[in-house]
């Protein structure tokens, strides 16, 4: 790999190239789509060893893959003399770290992040300037008097009801990753492009501030809100015991909900990270109108936000040939209909957030009425327990002959054998799966999350005139998904019409070339790009399609 300064440094958190999925595929596509640019990729991971081998073959125009970790590898517990030595080291450190002449600016920035609430853009940039100094060593955070003072302030003002010891450990858990990231050496690049807010967005903002290079931010999902949903269910945040309420059942009383101060601190922290990235980014790109609204509500300046939807290529061999048993079919632009059974596909990773359980239940319900041939297409190794649970459910329902788990497949081989694609996810941004299905004239049934509704029903009046290209269902409602499946199975005309409108929708709004053109203009505006760079083999790789779903 060449050690050249990159035109664009892409900063991702936990995804490309180590995890397959929508965001990773999108990043891969952006790199392949700009063969004239040199990319560096900075992957923020949780800890060494958290991910296996890369799932994507890095294109030739990637000049560097860098990794930083929020935590170091866990060390085995110390024993006996080693523990005594450590205690002595800590004692010495305490006396050393408290002798610094000037107060830490990073600590001052953290104090304002936590205690000053939402401030204007200048205030955010001032915090970034403080953080960019990186003048707080990890030892000072862990053992210094000043950081302990910040902790006590936080306890008094933001978490008076939380047990101090719990707050102490959460304080460390929140800030240790930050300090590790702030200490990471800057990857030189003409501009920075963060593919989320959060830790990657923070690092991109700090590097942009330090190097005075521009920053763009693309959010597929809304990072802070996704983290908040995780926090609401996190069992690692200890709540007071059920009996600590004087026996009146306050903890289990819905009329007096207990809002955990520790959860609030965590969620406030993630929101603060988002505000920092929003403030520093010159351009903020989002995928859909609904996400734009959420970003504005979370503090993103509306003037910076631009909607650039995902895009796919329309295949040259469009499946428009003839209708089956349909006298009302129009003369041209017809999609070939497969006779029964209806071929149903679930395309995506087999993980809880995709709610495959609801999909299986829906198929089971629909199979009572119509004949289906169901395929689950996607990797199953990310959450083996969940995959086993899904397989067990299929077996217990006695649907093994009808519902098959086929594993990952290259995108080009998926949609030709499907009549409908179903997504029952709890959370989505703007799923590429739906667009890829549309491009092949396959309608979609999707839960009402992210941009799914506007992708299926249209986002504005002109879009809606194309007609629905599938069905939108409520989350975790197998009955509605099953009803949609039965409807499509029993009405070939509707199926064809929806498939056709999906393909028209892609042609009008979701073309890959349009998305790439938007990003090309964005990168050019940020000063990235050098036409003299010779990059070989990129276009060939693009044709091959390095990633699989």
């Amino acid at each position: 790999m060449k050690s050249l300064e990159a035109d664009v440094c892409l900063l991702v958190e936990g995804t490309y190239p180590f995890v397959s999925g929508g965001v990773s595929s999108w990043v891969h596509d952006i790199i392949l789509g700009h063969p004239e640019l040199r990319f560096a990729v900075l992957n923020v991971g949780s800890h060494p060893g958290a991910y296996g081998e890369p799932r994507f073959q890095l294109p030739d125009n990637v000049v560097g893959l860098h990794r930083v970790f929020c935590q170091e590898t866990a060390r085995p517990p110390l024993d006996g003399a080693a523990r005594a030595d450590l205690r002595e080291q800590i004692r010495r450190l305490r006396t050393t770290v408290d002798t610094r002449a000037r107060p830490s600016r990073v600590l001052a920035g953290l104090r304002r992040m936590h205690l000053d609430g939402a401030s204007d853009s200048e205030g955010q940039q001032s915090i970034l300037d403080d953080l960019a100094t990186n003048d707080l060593a990890l030892d000072e955070l862990l053992y210094g008097r000043a950081s302990f003072d910040l902790l006590t302030q936080l306890s008094d003002r933001a978490a008076a009801q939380a047990p101090f010891l719990d707050l102490f450990w959460h304080f460390r858990a929140i800030h240790v990753p930050m300090l590790r990231l702030l200490a990471a050496p800057v990857v030189p690049a003409a501009c920075y492009h963060a593919i989320a807010t959060g830790y990657a967005g923070l690092l991109a903002a700090v590097w942009s501030r330090r190097s005075q290079r521009p920053l763009a931010l693309t959010e597929h999902g809304i990072y802070a809100r996704e983290r908040e949903m995780e926090l609401a269910r996190a069992d690692w945040i200890r709540e007071a015991a059920e009996t600590d309420d004087g026996g009146f059942g306050l903890r289990t009383a819905t009329w007096a909900p207990h809002v955990s101060p520790l959860r609030k601190i965590w969620s406030g922290f993630f929101r603060a990270l988002s505000r920092l990235a929003y403030a520093q980014a010159g351009r903020i790109v989002t995928l859909s109108e609904c996400n734009r609204g959420k970003q504005i509500a979370d503090g993103a300046p509306a003037a910076k936000i631009e909607i650039v939807p995902n895009g796919v290529d329309l295949p040259d061999d469009a499946p428009v040939r003839e209708a089956v048993n349909d006298n009302d079919a129009p003369d041209e632009g017809l999609i070939e209909l497969h006779p029964a059974p209806l071929r149903v596909g679930f395309v995506g990773r087999v993980v809880p957030i995709k709610d495959l359980i609801t999909f299986i239940r829906a198929c089971d319900l629909a199979l009572h009425s119509v004949d289906l041939q169901v395929r689950v297409i996607g990797p199953m190794d990310e959450d083996a327990a969940y995959a086993t649970r899904c397989r067990d459910l299929v077996a217990r329902l006695g649907r093994g002959a009808k519902i098959a788990f086929v594993g990952p497949m290259p995108p080009a081989a998926i949609y030709g054998d499907l009549d409908v694609v179903v997504l029952t996810s709890f959370s989505e941004g703007q799923p590429l799966v739906i667009l890829e299905a549309y491009a092949r004239g396959v309608p979609a049934i999707a839960s009402d999350v992210g941009a799914c509704r506007e992708m299926i029903e249209g986002r504005d009046a002109a879009d809606r005139e194309l007609g629905p290209s599938g069905f939108v269902t409520r989350v975790a409602t197998p009955k509605e998904t099953a009803a949609a499946l039965v409807r499509l199975a029993s009405d070939p005309t509707l199926r064809r019409r929806m498939g056709e409108s999906g393909r028209r929708r892609v042609a009008a709004y979701y073309q890959r070339r349009d998305m790439l053109a938007s990003y090309r203009a964005l990168y050019a505006a940020m000063g990235a790009g050098d036409p003299s760079i010779e990059v070989r083999g990129v276009m060939q790789q693009r044709q091959r399609g390095a990633g699989t779903l």
């Binding site: 024993d79 949903m229 269910r233 009996t243 009146f248 289990t252 819905t254 217990r396 709890f426 989350v475």
Partner: protein, 395 residues
């Protein structure tokens, strides 16, 4: 959920007890044995009419007994100091006592729940709690109108409760116009379901791995019953799961027939949850018999010689009330098996005193009617088994 769990778990009073926990890292043996042997030598020197030099030597030996402790490299400083203090203060026995005290570690948990303590009595609500109660929105309204933090706290609370009412409310929230609320509710239900399935799988493995005891089988059966009652079990698999739970109850009964009453309670709850009230009555009537004339309050008596605890008897009576009412639900009121899963289904009537049912006391005395039906006023009520068609399965 299970009354058994409620009594032993959440309600237990926190009492100060010494919770000794075996220490994780091994304690070196040599220093303690050496110290004790040196001290023993000193003691032996003291036997008889020991002259002054011998006394001095014994004293020196006692001091020398500290050396193996003080120089032990495997002991941290604090443990060396403590051990030396023991050995110095208590000749001969100091070393073993020190080893004993260091061999256990309380980990600071001086206050732990005493499992033998009685459940704490509920305290009267304070004024501010009553005020919040008065001002609070109904939960469904609070879910729609509360702040994000309140909404999440309510959902977390409902997930913690995980009873039929909580699950019904979460299912209701799936249809909310606010997509965030719908998604968070869906996630909460999914996590409860996943947790139930994982725990049931653990029980299945444990039961399959060896000869099951009463405890394991009963826990598995009650877990399945709880999930069916709460509406967390997979609808399409309800008959299978119910059959599995019945098997676990049978296993538990075979393993310990003296616990027939508590097992009957579980079986009755299960049968009521899967809309088999007649089977619930049979389960209860296997352990108790209702005595008394029609029109008077029936008295439940244990069938066998084993004593039934008053709390168990009370629960059996309540379940019997509910089963009797359920067996006489009119056909157009009856539900399909889906009713136990549907959000609209009411929570079980267990623990509610059904005064109406109690007044119709003749209905309780099923044994007295021979199962052929009873007359209430001018109405001839057919026998329970013939009053309803249960579409799920026959137990």
């Amino acid at each position: 959920m299970s009354s058994r769990r409620g009594a032993n778990g959440a309600g237990a009073r926190a009492t100060a007890i010494d919770a000794a926990v075996v220490r994780n890292r091994p304690l070196p043996v040599v220093p303690w044995v050496s110290a004790m042997l040196i001290d023993l030598t000193a003691v032996l020197l003291l036997f008889g009419d020991a002259p002054t030099p011998v006394l001095l030597l014994a004293a020196l030996l006692h001091l020398a007994a500290l050396i193996p402790i003080v120089v032990a490299p495997a002991l941290p400083r604090s443990e060396r100091v403590l051990g030396a203090a023991y050995v110095f203060a208590i000749p001969v026995f100091g070393a073993p006592l020190a080893a004993l005290s260091l061999g256990t570690a309380g980990r600071g948990e001086l206050v732990e729940a005493d499992p033998t303590a009685l459940p704490a009595a509920a305290e009267a609500p304070r004024a501010e709690e009553l005020r919040s109660l008065g001002e609070a929105l109904p939960t469904c309204e609070a879910l729609l109108a509360g702040s994000v933090d309140e909404r999440r706290a309510i959902i977390a609370t409902l997930a913690l409760r995980a009873d039929a009412g909580a699950v019904a409310l979460l299912r209701w929230a799936l249809g909310a116009a606010n997509p965030d609320l719908a998604v968070e509710s869906a996630l909460a239900i999914e996590e409860m379901t996943a947790s139930f399935e994982a725990r049931l799988d653990d029980h299945r493995k444990a039961l399959a791995s060896g000869s099951p005891g009463r405890g394991e089988a009963l826990e598995a059966a009650e877990l399945a019953t709880d999930a069916i009652e709460a509406g967390l079990a997979e609808t399409a698999l309800l008959p299978t799961l119910a059959q599995e739970a019945r098997g676990y109850f049978s296993t538990a009964l075979e393993a310990d027939p003296t616990q027939a009453a508590s097992i009957a309670i579980g079986r009755a709850r299960l049968e009521l949850a899967v809309l088999h009230p007649d089977a619930a009555l049979e389960a209860i009537d296997e352990v108790v018999v209702a005595e008394g004339d029609a029109g008077s309050e029936p008295v439940l008596m244990a069938r066998s010689v084993e004593k039934i605890e008053p709390a168990e008897m009370e629960m059996l009576l309540a379940l019997r009330d509910e089963a009797v009412m359920a067996t006489h639900a009119l056909p157009w009121e009856s539900a399909s098996a889906l009713a136990s899963y549907h959000p609209a289904s009411p929570p079980p009537l267990i623990r509610r005193r059904l005064s109406a049912a109690r007044r119709l006391s003749g209905l309780h005395a099923r044994g007295a009617t021979g199962g052929a039906g009873v007359t209430v006023g001018v109405v001839q009520v057919p026998a329970p088994a013939s009053t309803r068609e249960v579409p799920v399965e026959k137990p």
